[in-house]
Amino acid sequence: MVPIVERRMIVPNVHLLTVEAPEVAESAQPGNFVILRPGDDGERIPLTIADWDADAGTVTSVFVQVGASTARLARLTAGDQVPSYAGPLGCATEIAHFGDVLLIGGCYGIGSIYPIAGALTAAGNRVFVLIEARSSYLLFWEDRLHEVAERVIIVTRDGSRGYRGHVTRLAEILTLEGIHPDRVVAHGCTFQMMTVAAQTRPLGVKTMVSMNPIMIDGTGMCGVCRLTVAGSRKFACVDGPEFDAQEVDWDEVLARRESYAAEEVSPLRRSGCASHF
């Protein structure tokens, strides 16, 4: 059981959650995630860590409200308890001196690339950050990212800020910006990461993506987070979550994510929206 320090909607449908979990904060590394349950009968939800403060003993994640469980989480507020909160899980992002690194964040990924940017900058890399959203009002943490990156590039679907479009324009944007990354790391929805993979393939640049399949225990036991990477079975919770984007079997990932799509929202329907907001 951990107390919530802050839970706040930072842009529509995207929430920040900070809890007091000193031992998790002490061990957290960029790219790790936590598993939590929003209520006593709640699902175990994996959330990537977006920030932490070892001195204050706090850990922060950014999450998007998509189904019944994240709706429950979004109803909690400072002073409430999260009944279970465990981590840090998964292997950390590889931090080394690569040269020029491009970090791409969409949705919650705008938050989770923040500590990676900091660590890569500290390791002597020139870090470029590209964040994307449907519209400018859905962007967040731009100021924080500026602090840890050489440049922050913005892409919005409606063109209200930065480049108009999506990461489907990535190769073109890199040319326009004059960036030749030695490594790319992307955090976001499956579609975004798959698109990044397709865009960087012809460039031959090593691209890591943070996979977010369905998980239950998250500790290397249940096997539901399996995916095929370079033709062999990998488990995102203990072998990942970051994998080489060019080696991931994306069609399979997309199909497996759909397996509980109906159930993800059906409790919302049953209980009526009122109880969730």
Binding site: E23, V24, S27, R37, G39, D41, G42, E43, R44, A68, S69, R72, P83, S84, Y85, A86, G87, P88, L89, I216, D217, T219, G220, M221, C222, G223, V224, R226, L227, T228, R233, F235, V238, E252, A255, R256, E258, S259, Y260, E263, E264, S266, P267, R270, S271
Partner: protein, 470 residues
């Protein structure tokens, strides 16, 4: 109809099959006191009891059985708890026919005493009467031991060492204690209230329990060794094995770990009252022939499946499941496809499982395990329409501790290497036991490993093993 395992002994009252497949309540109802006393009276009270040799934790079996005969049930449970901290669990899930009951003298000519059922009787009786006083623990000795995992091995070590005066902290990765007893074994075979009670008993001995604490991640073993005198690793099961046949990443294809965890730990059978969903499939194939396969198949039935098949490549004779569980599954209408090997999982156009392609097998010469090797009959392919499959062929040990503990020797299949007599690992002050050492095995063998490790930890931290002449 008397079942094979009940001939000559007091039958176990059970829920009727037609009734029980519609609920998750416990199937076996337990002996009433009179029945227990009648069954206990069958014990010959051998001078040199063979049954005790068959018990991995060395319970004084004739001793507790005599106390049932005498009607002194409170003394009986105390006798049991001298050597077994979890009798309500063991009485239900131990494979007694492979252990104590296998070596019972009565079994030579007839049917052995129902030792497991009598053990369960005493434990349940105790629960009905309210908790017993925990046995007197030794004075605190100032030593601290960390236990990784709150399954049967971890709980046994914790209880044994707490009684010897150690300050014990048990770290559990999941949000509920009990390990496989909680996430793996279904409610209808081992009610979670019973597991909770046994965990409470261990806590009543002064053991501290930390949930949601992932040793290897939240803290490493090396860090724990800074503040603890010894660490016992009982992290249990890890990633599931699959058949390595085409189609295993289709939707609707699950591991038993996933299926049972969704149902038991996450209470998925109560979806949407509980948030974790569990698909209600109408035709389910379960691969494997052990207890986990039986549990998965019977779970599928209770979730409303119309037809559940257990697909097993050997014959009924080689079935590794407890005889009682296989019988229960048969009574409930599970279809057993023996000598059948799944070779391919076929999906529909949306990526969901639609058919399981199998081959017929025949038994050849005995293999390394002593069992007759199943051989495929060429050209015998056939397909079973299925909308879900559950793979229950075992798992590797949990990888988190080996991945994060330098110098910890690990065997071929990822198991932690230990000295079998005492559970010592290649690292100083680190012991290990249970499934993380043996691969998937039984509750009681994990408890036996815990018992041996506790003794070894006690010896090495300066205690004696007690008992003169041992």
């Amino acid at each position: 109809m008397g079942s094979r395992i009940d001939a000559g002994r007091q039958p176990m009252p059970k829920q009727e099959p037609a009734e029980r497949v519609r609920n998750f309540d416990e199937v076996a109802l337990g002996y009433p006191a009179e029945t227990a006393r009648r069954e206990a009276a069958r014990c010959l009270a051998c001078k040199k009891p063979k049954c005790v040799d068959g018990c991995p934790v060395g319970i004084d079996i004739p001793g507790f059985i005599q106390l049932i005969v005498d009607g002194d049930f409170a003394a009986g449970i105390r006798k049991l708890k001298e050597t077994n901290a979890l009798p309500a669990v063991c009485g239900r899930v131990c494979p007694q026919e492979e252990q104590c009951e296998k070596t019972c003298v009565l079994g030579k000519k007839g049917v052995p005493v129902a030792i497991g059922r009598l053990e369960r009787f005493l434990a349940d009786r105790e629960a009905e009467q309210g908790p017993l006083e925990p046995p007197a623990a030794a004075a605190p000795n100032g030593r601290r031991v960390a236990v990784v995992g709150s399954g049967p091995a971890g709980l046994t070590v914790a209880a044994d060492l707490a009684l010897l005066g150690y300050a014990v902290t048990v770290y559990e990765a999941l949000h509920e204690a009990g390990g496989v007893l909680t996430y793996g074994i279904p409610e209808f075979r081992l009610p979670k209230a019973i597991v909770a009670r046994e965990v409470e008993y261990v806590r009543s001995l002064g053991v501290e329990l930390r949930l949601d604490y992932i040793v290897g991640k939240t803290r490493t073993i090396d860090k724990l060794l800074d503040t603890f005198d010894a660490v016992f690793v009982a992290a249990g099961a890890g990633l599931p094995w699959f058949l390595d046949i085409p189609g295993e990443n289709l939707n609707g294809v699950l591991s038993a770990n996933e299926y049972l965890t969704r149902c038991n730990l996450m209470r998925g059978y109560r979806f949407p009252a509980c948030d974790t969903p569990l698909k209600r499939a109408s035709r389910v194939a379960v691969f494997g022939g052990g207890n986990v396969a039986m549990d998965s198949a019977r779970t599928a039935l209770r979730l409303g499946a119309d037809e559940v098949h257990i697909i097993y490549r050997r014959s009924r004779e080689e079935l590794p499941a407890r005889a009682e569980e296989a019988e229960n599954a048969e009574e409930e209408g599970i279809i057993f496809d023996y000598l059948t090997l799944p070779v391919r999982l076929v999906g529909d156009e949306h990526g969901w499982l639609s058919e399981v392609e199998c081959l017929r097998m025949e038994l050849g010469e005995p293999d390394a395990s002593g069992r007759r090797r199943p051989l495929a009959i060429p050209g015998s392919e056939f397909r079973l329409p299925m909308d879900a499959s559950v793979c229950a062929i075992g798992n590797s040990p949990n990888p988190l501790v080996p991945m994060t503990t330098p110098g910890l020797e690990v065997g071929e299949r990822g198991t932690i290497v230990t000295d079998e007599d005492n559970g010592r690992t290649s690292r100083e002050r680190v012991w290990a036991g249970g499934d993380v050492v043996t691969g998937a095995a039984t509750v009681i063998s994990a408890m036996g490993a815990g018992r041996r490790a506790a003794r070894s930890i006690h010896e090495s931290l300066g205690g004696s093993t007690g008992g003169a002449g041992q």
